[in-house]
Symmetry: C2
Subunit: 185 residues, 2 copies
C-alpha cells in the first residue's frame, strides 16, 4: 500500500496528472521504489473512488495530446496520509539484484565469464553514479528530505562500487593462486 501513499504525498505539493506522478516518483525516489503505469492508473482510480483525491478533466480544445486528468488531494486524503506518515514503517529493507544472485554462484561457472560480468556491472554502476551526481548538481533548492534521499542513493552507489572493485581483485587473485597450485602439481 506504499504507492498509494506516495501518490498522496506528491499531491501535497501540487495537483498532478498520472504521467507526471510517475515521472516525479522516478526522479525523487527512483532508487527506493520503482513504479509503472500498471500500478499508477488503477491506484488513481481507487483513490478517487475512496474520495482521497479528486479529479478535474481538462477540456483542451485544439490543444496538444489526449485529455489530461488533473488529480488533487482532498481533506480526507490529507487525513489518511497523516495517519500513514505517523505509523511505524512495517518492514525493513530488501535489496534485490539478479546480478548478486548470480554472483554467489560464480564459483560453479566459468571464471573468465564471471570476471567479464563483474566488469559489465562495474561499468553500469559507474555510469549510474555519474548520472546521479550530475542530476544532483543540476537540482537546486531541493526540499531537505528529498535532497537527503538523493545523497543516500549516491553514497550507497559509491559503497557498492568500492566493494565490487575489491571483489573483482580478490576473485582474480584467487584464480591466479588456484592455477599456480595446478602448475606445481
Amino acid at each position: 500500500m506504499a504507492i498509494r501513499h506516495a501518490i498522496l504525498g506528491l499531491l501535497h505539493y501540487r495537483p498532478m496528472h498520472g504521467y507526471k506522478i510517475k515521472a516525479q516518483i522516478e526522479q525523487n525516489f527512483g532508487h527506493v521504489w520503482s513504479i509503472n503505469y500498471g500500478q499508477i492508473y488503477p491506484n488513481l482510480k481507487s483513490l478517487l473512488d475512496e474520495g482521497l483525491i479528486s479529479m478535474t478533466e481538462e477540456n483542451r480544445v485544439g490543444m496538444r495530446g489526449p485529455s489530461r486528468k488533473l488529480y488533487s488531494i482532498t481533506d480526507k486524503g490529507r487525513k489518511a496520509f497523516s495517519r500513514w506518515i505517523m505509523e511505524p514503517p512495517d518492514k525493513n529493507m530488501t535489496l534485490r539484484d539478479p546480478f548478486l544472485m548470480k554472483f554467489v554462484f560464480f564459483g560453479f561457472g566459468d571464471r573468465r565469464r564471471a570476471v567479464e560480468m563483474i566488469d559489465d556491472q562495474i561499468r553500469l554502476y559507474t555510469e549510474q553514479l555519474t548520472s546521479r551526481k550530475e542530476k544532483f548538481k543540476k537540482l537546486k533548492n531541493l526540499e531537505i528530505h528529498v535532497r537527503l534521499i538523493s545523497e543516500m542513493g549516491i553514497e550507497l552507489n559509491e559503497a557498492f562500487l568500492a566493494w565490487l572493485k575489491r571483489a573483482r581483485e580478490e576473485i582474480v587473485r584467487d584464480a591466479v593462486n588456484a592455477s599456480n597450485e595446478v602448475d606445481h602439481e
Copy 2:
C-alpha cells in the same frame, strides 16, 4: 525465475530438503533475496516435474518429524544452471524500504515523530550490523563469493547507517533554524 536457479545452485553443494534450502538461502544471501515456503515448495515440485532435480523420500521408522524429502540436482539441472549462470543478469538493483518511502515525506508530518522514527531505524540497523558482524566472525572457510556477499551486506549496512545518522543531525539542525526564524518574526 531467480529462485529456481538459486535452488539449483545450492544443490551443487549437496542434496538438501526444502527446509534446509530456505535456511541456506537466508544465511547466504538474505540481504540479496528473501524467500518463504510459499515459493520454495511449489518450485521444488516444478523443478522435479521438469527433471532438473530428483527426489528420494526418507523412510525414517520411528524417527523425528514428518517424512523428509531429499532433493538432488540432475545432469539436466546442472546444464540448465550452467546456461543461466553464463547469461547476463536481466535487471539492475532495486532497494526497497517502506521507511525510506516515508522518509521522503517527513516534511509533511510531525517533526518530533519523524526524529523518533529515525532513531528507531538507527537502533534497528545498528542491531542488524552487530549481528551480521558476529555471524561473519563465527563462519570460517567460507567460499570466496559467499564471503564477499556477506562483506557487502556489512559494508552497505555501514554506509546506510552513516548516512542515516548524518541525516538525523541535518534534520534536527534544520528544525532549530526554522524555529529561530519564527522567533525573530
